[in-house]
């Protein structure tokens, strides 16, 4: 197996792009595959370009990196125009609308949006305005994507969003959330808290709001740690950039810990911060980690969690896999469902997916 030399290739290159000067063609090849698997190619292109390392890339690798840069530029323009039509569609309803994740970073012009590709726009509206928003969006051309009755029920009853909507002409996907975590996960923060703390946007998209910095970080951490990690490296890349910006204000870290405690989400935050520091060298005060550790409540022993994160956060490409990575990915899959659903529902859902789903 060619695994060994490339295990940490992508992350090492993102952290220290100058290393690329000494790479063989084999390194470049694996770097391209891994950045593609993690959706970090345009970010990698930026990092390499910033230190002049693109010059040393073999032409075939440079071609892929430059094309990724081109797609990212177009993507940013497309997101802006999509936000414009979304604002036009929802403004008349007079309800608060939060932009989440990629859409928020983009509307803020934040460094975390540079080169970041995403397939869906994510927004959050108050649960009481969900039906009204859905109806308005359908009128404006965003039509429900899933028609299967099982999927419909899966989304409406067991998750924190309605079935994805797709625009009939532009084929862009929109996820409308009413809270940040699936209600079946057992942790039910009051969505009103997020609306209350939300920050307005300046400029063109002033109708929308975004989560306050602490909530934005916590949401990104939850998204990562309640999920299956296949976009884990990308999410941690976002978090690294968010934290290196927000973290410059001294009061931010104490706010963050207080907020996570209040929302009962200290554990995902602790995990995200620990992994961000391990992988990207994210600057985090020791005291913050100590405070979060004090409220940590995972039933699983630390060494198991460390093993799981180490493997499941590798790029989903065989060139980065070790002997137990596939097992770790299966565990991560089971874990993500375990965290999101009570056991009977989990058995029901997985049985459907295993035996009945076409």
């Amino acid at each position: 197996m060619t695994a060994a030399p490339y295990t940490h290739l992508l992350i090492e290159t993102l952290r220290e792009p100058r290393r690329a000067a000494g790479y063989s063609v084999g390194h470049w090849q694996a770097l391209i595959w891994q950045s593609r698997a993690t959706e970090l190619m345009a970010q990698l292109h930026q990092a390499l370009d910033a230190v002049g390392a693109m010059e040393t890339a073999p032409p075939a690798a440079r071609r892929h990196l430059e094309l990724a840069g081109k797609i990212a530029t177009r993507h940013a323009a497309a997101v802006t125009s999509e936000l414009r039509s979304l604002q036009e569609a929802l403004e008349p309803l007079g309800i608060p609308v939060l932009l989440l994740k990629g859409a928020a970073y983009c509307a803020l012009g934040h460094q975390a949006s540079k080169g970041r590709l995403f397939n869906d726009l994510d927004i959050m509206v108050p649960k009481s305005a969900l039906a009204k928003s859905e109806q308005q969006l359908i009128w404006e051309g965003w039509l429900p994507l899933h028609t299967n009755a099982y999927d419909e029920r899966y989304y409406r009853d067991w998750t924190h969003e309605i079935p994805p909507l797709e625009h009939k002409h532009r084929a862009t996907t929109l996820d409308v959330h009413h809270t940040i975590l699936p209600p079946t996960s057992g942790i039910r923060p009051n969505p009103q808290d997020f609306f209350d703390a939300a920050r307005p946007l300046n400029g063109e998209f002033s109708f929308f709001k975004v989560l306050c910095p602490a909530d934005m970080v916590i949401h990104s951490a939850c998204h990562l740690f309640f999920g299956e990690f296949h976009k884990g490296l990308r999410d941690l890349h976002d978090l690294n950039l968010l934290l290196s910006d927000f973290g410059q204000r001294a009061e931010f870290w104490d706010n963050l810990v207080d907020r996570a405690r209040y929302l009962q989400l200290s554990l995902p935050l602790l995990d995200a911060l620990t992994q961000g520091r391990r992988l990207y060298g994210t600057q985090i005060p020791d005291n913050t980690l100590r405070q979060l550790k004090a409220c940590k409540t995972s039933p699983f022993p630390g060494f198991m969690r460390a093993w799981l994160f180490e493997h499941a956060l590798r790029p989903a490409h065989p060139s980065a896999f070790g002997t137990t990575t596939r097992l770790a990915n299966k565990v991560a899959f089971a874990r993500s469902h375990w965290l999101r659903m009570p056991l009977p529902l989990l058995v029901y859902h997985l049985s459907y997916k295993a035996f009945i789903a076409p």
Partner: protein, 304 residues
């Protein structure tokens, strides 16, 4: 070295193990699959394809496999993977080969942004090519296959790759995907036609693939200059009708058939504009190959 020069067992162990390097349009891909059914079909339909040297730069690693061990035996399924990503939902195992072909098309049209990637068939003669652009079900693949069996070189039945810099079309020469009644129509074109197993009941009906003629595969590196653009429209009862199309209309129509028009933006618009200056454009309604092929030949002569 070509695929057909390998023994099946060699091919099988290569596909199940380190993988096989083959060209896929403007890319080199590494193909892996331990599915026997897929390996057989691949052996037959990619027979003339070159096996690239181990030190060729590999753009994509693709695979066709069971989603999980359970689904290998119980209601067996298949997925296509490309560099760790799974673009489509699992399909029944019997659709392994079509899944591979759809996966390769996806790989090309989501990554080859140094080309205009157009949903069109392309055939060539004397260095100049004919582009057949149409919606699915218009007979584009059948017509491409028939022309490829009657003296034209096949570049692709599905994707026209038009260079953004040189405006030339790059061949793909992969198997031609045929649906339903057109499988029999193409089979009856002669004893030289090689068609793989028929795969019933896919989302598009019955599907089978025709092996690209050997000369087309061997000439895979020869680019072609666009000369004629036809919008074919098959209809069971249609009388033959040819209409000359204006440049503006055709450009508008082609934006619909170009997968990456939104990604390329101005660059794509300029490339389409240049294409319009190079080609004469017609639409043809027809109901049989006997009717349409002489008509295509007539327009081809006129375009010289």
């Amino acid at each position: 070295m070509r695929v057909a020069q390998l023994k099946f067992d060699e091919l099988s162990s290569s596909l199940s193990g380190t993988g096989l390097l083959i060209p896929c349009g403007p890319f080199c891909i590494r193909v892996r699959s331990d599915l026997r059914e897929f390996q057989r079909e691949f052996y037959r339909l990619y027979a003339d394809f070159p096996v690239l040297d181990a030190d060729t730069y590999v753009d994509f690693e693709v695979g066709v496999r069971s989603p999980n061990p359970l689904r290998r035996y119980f209601r067996p399924q298949v997925i296509f993977t490309c560099d760790g990503r799974i673009p489509f939902k699992p399909l029944p195992l019997a659709q392994a080969f079509p899944t591979f072909e759809w996966g390769l098309n996806w790989t090309i049209y989501t990554h080859a942004h140094d080309y205009l990637v157009m949903h069109a068939g392309v055939v060539e003669r004397g260095g100049r090519c004919l582009i057949l652009a149409a919606d699915p079900g218009s007979g584009k693949s059948t017509l491409s296959a028939a022309l490829a069996q009657s003296g034209w070189r096949l570049l692709s039945d599905e994707l026209a790759l038009i260079g953004l810099v040189d405006g030339l079309v790059r061949p793909i020469a992969r198997p031609v995907s045929l649906k339903n009644a057109s499988i029999g129509v193409v089979r009856s074109l002669g004893p030289q036609v090689v068609i793989g197993s028929v795969c019933p009941g896919t989302a598009k009906g019955d599907i089978a693939h025709m092996r690209a003629p050997s000369p087309s595969v061997l000439a895979m590196s020869e680019l072609a200059k666009p000369a004629l653009l036809i919008f074919p429209k098959y209809g069971k009862e249609s009388a033959l009708r040819t209409t000359s199309k204006g440049k503006a209309h055709s450009l508008g129509e082609l934006t619909r058939h170009t997968f990456n028009f939104a990604v390329l933006a101005e660059q794509g618009f300029d490339a389409l504009g240049r294409l319009m200056d190079q080609v004469e454009t017609y639409s043809i309604e027809y109901s049989s190959l006997d009717q349409v092929i002489p008509e295509v030949e007539r327009l081809w002569e006129r375009s010289k």
